[in-house]
């Protein structure tokens, strides 16, 4: 379990991370979502002690990262797949991690197999690697100590669709074994398909957090009817407000079951009734509209 409590990081007058608190739980994949420059990477660096927090603290299963005697065996970390000595081979980079952690040498070949780097690829120098191969190597470095907690910054970057699918299955199985997985992404789709819990960050502040189900259903109901005004009056009597959209649908925060019952009692024939699962994309754009660079998109 990762507990982030009131973490703030300031650079002079600029606040990169502003009072961020959340928990990534065991057995779940927690998605850390936010536009570029939102403070995801800074928060993750604070977690592993590479950056000092101006205020607040992070604990991993109740302990500070720097107090872990051999962190690689407890927390797998991938912060930047390109941050490797370009002149080392992939196998050598894994071997260094294996030796630091004091693991048996066979773990290196096992991990190369797990992340599907062939022996030939593993013998090449990292400067000749594609971003996808670097990501695989980085994931192998994070996994080699078989840690219970994974902290991965944009791990899907540069992976091909098959690679993304593979990583999703890998992280899923990790969480299903009881592991804690925290991964960041600025790609909504990635987080939507992979995460159980979502923490959304914009401009250094948490803008929304909860389970994926909660966040998805928070958007309410979309309904269309033969006589939409009659339905709206019936809903209003119950104190349910809704807004008419331009395409002739009514949007309301109420549950679809309730809206259906109201329509039945009012004798209004429905032509469409569904959960307004606009997906995280709308929510993401909406929640970060004020903070993201392409503000006009929303």
């Amino acid at each position: 379990m990762i507990t982030v409590e009131g973490v703030t990081r300031k650079y002079g007058h600029f606040t990169a991370v502003d009072d961020v608190s959340f928990t990534a739980r065991e057995g779940r994949v927690t998605g850390f979502l936010g536009p570029n420059g939102a403070g995801k990477s800074t928060t993750m660096r604070v977690m592993v002690g590479l950056t000092r927090a101006t205020a607040g603290a992070v604990t991993i299963s109740g302990r500070h990262y720097v107090d872990l005697p051999n962190p690689g065996l407890e927390v797998g970390v991938l912060l930047d797949a390109s941050a490797q000595h370009a002149g080392r081979t992939g196998r050598e980079i894994l071997t260094i991690a294996q030796q630091f952690m004091g693991l048996p040498p066979r773990r290196v070949e096992e991990m190369l197999d797990t992340v599907s780097l062939t022996p030939t690829e593993a013998s090449r120098r990292v400067r000749n690697y594609s971003l996808g191969m670097r990501q695989r190597l980085g994931i192998a470095t994070a996994l080699i100590g078989d840690p219970e907690v994974l902290i991965l910054d944009e791990p899907a970057n540069g992976l091909d669709p098959a690679g993304i699918r593979w990583m999703r299955d890998l992280l899923r199985s990790y969480a299903d074994r009881g592991g804690t997985v925290l991964l960041s992404s600025h790609l909504l789709h990635e987080i939507e398909v992979i995460a159980d819990d979502i923490v959304m960050i914009g401009n250094g502040r948490i803008v929304s957090q909860g389970t994926k189900t909660e966040l998805l259903h928070a958007t309410g109901t979309v309904v269309r009817a033969a006589d939409l005004h009659a339905l709206q009056r019936a809903l209003n009597k119950l104190g349910i407000t809704g807004t008419l959209s331009q395409d002739g649908a009514l949007r309301t925060d109420a549950d679809p079951t309730l809206v259906g019952k109201v329509a039945l009692e009012a004798g209004v024939a429905l032509t469409e009734l569904r959960t307004a699962d606009a997906g995280l994309e709308d929510m993401f754009l909406e929640l970060t509209a004020t903070t993201q660079r392409e503000g006009a998109l929303a």
Binding site: R45, V48, G49, L50, T51, R52, Y65, V66, L68, P69, N70, P71, G72, L73, E74, V77, L79, D80, S82, A83, Q84, H85, A86, G87, R88, E92, I93, I96, A97, Q99, F100, M101, G102, D113, T114, S116, T141, L143, D146, P147, E148, W166, D169, L170, S173, Y174, R177, G178, G179
Partner: protein, 267 residues
Amino acid sequence: MSTIATEGFHTAVPVIHRVPLARITKVELRKMLDTRSGFWLLASIAITALLATGAVILWAPNAELTYSTFVSAIGFPMAVLLPLVAILSVTSEWSQRSGLTTFTLIPHRHRIITAKLISSVIVGVVSVLLAFAIGALGNLLNAALTSAPLVWDVSQTDFWYFLLGSVLGLLIGFMLGILIRASSGAIAAYFVYSFLLPTIFLVLANNQTWFKDLQPWVDVTYAQGFLFTFDGALTGEQWANIAVTGVIWLVLPLAVGLGFVTRAEVK
């Protein structure tokens, strides 16, 4: 694509031990050799030692063909290369950004720095031993090839002085690596330190009489040069010169650099 084991983690391991410093040092030594640049840098110490030996046999005047000549000739390129080994050991963590992994696996920066210091000194000591061994072979070979008498004019004291001087030079490189944390900048600073400054001090000493007496107390290269003279024991004043310049040019900047290194953000 195989998947990972399905059941549990190694929580069965009751106690996870702190990574011992000896293991960190071993890995840091490995990291000095596992890239092409690192390998050839260390290999070039041996290669230049052989070249220097050959050059002495071929071109040195017969009267000077003694053991100390061989060691001095080998020691000159080595004195340039050893600090580079120490510099790159430190700066590559930043310039190549591998520090992101290193300082995550070992989250106590002073432990990594200590391991790098120990491994650099090990490389220095081994290189010095190599210099004396190759020098001895050169001396023997020369005596066998020519009719020149075999002269072993290096005392135990000379050996320890040479070792100390080489390690001090290496530590200057180490300090610059810590202080600057970028390969190109640290190497440039090293050349300023070991070539530009001594030249300025030399010119100053030759032209300004007031500076001539001051030079041994200011010029670190000059003061440490006493260790490479193969001329018997140093005087107390010479030791004091080495100590004073060492504090000014090595210990103080190292302390400043260590303060930065332990606090700086690793990105």
